[in-house]
C-alpha cells in the first residue's frame, strides 16, 4: 500500500485504518512484553543479593549484586552439573547429526522400497512421550555399564533429537538440486567426492543450525536426565533434585543459568527455525 494511495481515501476510512494499525502494534508490544517481562524478572532476581531475593516488597530493579550468582557458582555440584550438561548435549549433537543426516540424505535422494516404513518410524518417535524411555533403559544401562554416564544419557537424548535431525537434514538436502551433484559426477567426481565438494559446503550452515537445535533439546531435558543419572547429573536434573531444599537465590541463579544459553541458541538458529519446521511438518 503506497503512501499516495492512502491519501486518496476518505478520512473516516483512514482514521479507522490508523486505529487498526495502532491496535495491531499494541498487540505486538503486548505479546513481546508477555514474553520478555518474566525473563527480565528472573534476571532481576539472579542479579540481586540473597537478602534482596528473599526481601519484600521488591522494586523490580536489579541490585547488581553478584553474590547470588557467586553462591550458585560455588555451590557444590554445580560446576560438575554444568560440565555434564555441556558434555551430554555435545554428544547428543554429534550422535543425532551423525546418525540422522545420512538418513535425511537417503530420504531426499533415493526412491526405494521401505522408505515409507522408515518415515513412519521417524514420525512415530514424535508422537510418543519419549522421556519415559528412561525407565526401562535404566535397567539395560546397568547391565551394560552405561548407567550414570554421559554417553548413556546422550543416547536417550538422541532418540529425542533424531526425528528432528532426520526431517531437517531431509529438507536441507532436498533444497539442493540434484543437477548440481550430477554435474559433478559428469566432471569425474564419484558420489562421495561430489557430496563432499558440492553438497556439503551448501548444507553446512543448515546442519550447524540443526545441531544447535539438538543441543538445545538435550540442554533442556529434565526427566530422563533425572532418572538415568545419580552422580553425573546434568544441570536441570541437579536443579530438579535440589529444588525442594535449595534456597530461593540458588533456584533463581540456576534458572538464569538455564535461560541465558537458551537465548543464545535460539538467536543462533533464528534464520533456520521456520525453514526447518516448514518441512518437518509434512
Amino acid at each position: 500500500m503506497s503512501a499516495a494511495k492512502t491519501n486518496d481515501v476518505p478520512s473516516t476510512v483512514q482514521s479507522a485504518r490508523r486505529a487498526g494499525k495502532f491496535l495491531f502494534w499494541a498487540c505486538v508490544l503486548l505479546i513481546c512484553a508477555w514474553v520478555l517481562v518474566p525473563i527480565y524478572l528472573l534476571m532481576v532476581n539472579a542479579l540481586s543479593s540473597p537478602s534482596q531475593v528473599s526481601g519484600f516488597p521488591k522494586t523490580g530493579l536489579p541490585g547488581f549484586d553478584f553474590s547470588s550468582l557467586q553462591f550458585f557458582a560455588g555451590f557444590s555440584g554445580v560446576g560438575r552439573a554444568l560440565w555434564n550438561s555441556v558434555l551430554v548435549a555435545v554428544l547428543t549433537m554429534v550422535l543425532s547429526i551423525g546418525i540422522g543426516a545420512p538418513a535425511g540424505y537417503a530420504l531426499s535422494r533415493f526412491e526405494f522400497p521401505g522408505k515409507e516404513v522408515f518415515r513412519m518410524l521417524v514420525v512415530m518417535t514424535r508422537a510418543f512421550p519419549l522421556p519415559l524411555l528412561a525407565l526401562p533403559l535404566a535397567v539395560m544401562f546397568i547391565r551394560t555399564g552405561l548407567d550414570d554416564t554421559a554417553i548413556g544419557l546422550a543416547l536417550v537424548h538422541t532418540v529425542l533429537a533424531i526425528p528432528f535431525a532426520v526431517l531437517i537434514t531431509f529438507s536441507l538436502f532436498s533444497g539442493i538440486p540434484l543437477e548440481l551433484e550430477e554435474a559433478a559426477w559428469t566432471l569425474g567426481c564419484n558420489r562421495w567426492q561430489a557430496f563432499q565438494k558440492v553438497v556439503l559446503p551448501l548444507v553446512l550452515p543448515g546442519i550447524a543450525a540443526s545441531a544447535v537445535f539438538a543441543f538445545t533439546i538435550s540442554w533442556n531435558e529434565v526427566f530422563a536426565a533425572a532418572v538415568l543419572t545419580i552422580e553425573n547429573r546434568t544441570l536441570p536434573a541437579f536443579l530438579i533434585q535440589n529444588l525442594n531444599v535449595s534456597p530461593l537465590h540458588l533456584k533463581f541463579a540456576g534458572g538464569a543459568a538455564l535461560v541465558v544459553p537458551a537465548l543464545i541458541f535460539i538467536f543462533a538458529v533464528r534464520k533456520y527455525l521456520f525453514a526447518m519446521w516448514g518441512i518437518a511438518n509434512r
Binding site: C32, P57, A103, N220
Partner: protein, 281 residues
C-alpha cells in the same frame, strides 16, 4: 547395484538406533507394567489405580491439557497471523516471539516462581498497589487452584512459541493467489482467515496440536518447580514411584497410562483434522 544398496546403508544406523532405543524400551515398559517378580501380574496396575493420588494426578493432567492447549492454539494463531502481516521489524519480533522455544519447562517453572513465590513480584506489585499489606502464600497447599493457575500461565508462556513456529511455516506454504482471489471476490480479512487460512493450515494445525497436547500430558518440571508435589500430575507420580517409592513396575504402569492417553489424543487429531488424499499443497 550400488545405488540399490546405498540408501539402506545410509538408513541402517538410524533404524538400528531407533529399534534399540525407541521400540525396545516401549515394549519393555508394557512388559514391566504387567509383571511382578518376574511373572505376569496385574498388581502394578491395580496398585497404581487404587493409589489415592492416581485419580487426582490423572484429573489434573487432563484438566491442564484441556485448559492450556485451546488457549495456546488461539494465541499461536494470532501470533502467527501477526508475524505474517508484519513488514517492518519482522525478524526482531519473530526472534522475541520464539524465545520461549529454547527454554526448558524447568526454566519456565523457575521464571514463574520468581513472580508467584511469597516474596515474589506479584506480591510486591499487589503491595505497591495497596491491595495487600502482607505477602500472600500463593503456592501453598491450601491454594491448589492458584498453583494450577501458575502452572497454566507458565505452560502457556513457554510452549506457545513452538506452535507459533509450526503455524508460521505452515502459513508460508499457502499460495498468495488464494488470498488475492479472496480479496477480489470481496472476502473480509476475517473471512479470508476462516475460509482460506484455517483449512489450508490443516496439516500444520495437526502436527502443532499433536506435539503440544502430548507435551502437555508430560508436564513435570513446571509443576515441580511451582508446586512441589502439592499438585499431582502423571509424570510427577511416575518420577515419584521410580525414585521415592523405588517401584519400577508401578512407574511403568504410570508410563503406560501416559502413553495410552497420548495415543488416544494422536488418533483423535489424525481423525478430526485428517487431510483428504490429494488435497495437500
Amino acid at each position: 547395484m550400488q545405488a540399490k544398496v546405498l540408501p539402506y546403508l545410509l538408513l541402517l544406523p538410524a533404524t538400528v538406533f531407533l529399534l534399540v532405543f525407541f521400540v525396545y524400551p516401549f515394549v519393555e515398559i508394557a512388559v514391566l507394567a504387567f509383571t511382578r517378580d518376574g511373572g505376569f501380574s496385574l498388581q502394578p496396575l491395580t496398585t497404581m489405580a487404587t493409589h489415592w493420588k492416581f485419580g487426582s494426578a490423572l484429573g489434573w493432567t487432563l484438566l491442564l491439557a484441556a485448559v492450556v492447549v485451546p488457549i495456546q492454539l488461539a494465541m499461536a494463531l494470532s501470533m502467527a497471523s501477526i508475524v505474517t502481516k508484519l513488514q517492518r521489524g519482522r525478524n526482531a519480533i519473530l526472534y522475541i516471539f520464539s524465545i520461549p522455544l529454547g527454554l526448558s519447562d524447568l526454566a519456565a517453572g523457575i521464571v514463574w516462581l520468581a513472580i508467584f513465590e511469597q516474596s515474589g513480584f506479584l506480591n510486591s506489585l499487589l503491595n505497591g498497589l495497596g491491595v495487600v499489606d502482607q505477602p500472600i502464600l500463593f503456592l501453598g497447599y491450601q491454594n491448589i487452584w492458584v498453583i494450577f493457575l501458575a502452572v497454566v500461565l507458565a505452560e502457556i508462556w513457554r510452549a506457545t512459541a513452538i506452535m507459533m513456529v509450526i503455524l508460521v511455516s505452515g502459513m508460508g506454504l499457502i499460495p498468495k493467489e488464494y488470498y488475492e482471489a479472496g480479496e477480489v471476490f470481496g472476502a473480509s480479512p476475517w473471512q479470508r482467515f476462516i475460509k482460506i487460512t484455517l483449512p489450508m493450515l490443516r496439516p500444520s494445525l495437526q502436527s502443532a496440536l499433536i506435539l503440544r497436547t502430548l507435551a502437555a500430558f508430560e508436564v513435570f518440571a513446571v509443576v515441580t518447580a511451582l508446586g512441589g508435589t502439592t499438585l499431582p500430575v502423571l509424570m510427577g507420580e511416575t518420577y515419584n514411584w521410580q525414585f521415592a517409592l523405588q517401584d519400577r513396575n508401578v512407574a511403568s504402569a504410570y508410563a503406560l497410562v501416559i502413553l495410552g492417553i497420548s495415543i488416544i489424543a494422536t488418533l483423535f487429531y489424525l481423525r478430526v483434522l485428517r487431510v483428504p488424499k490429494g488435497a495437500t499443497i
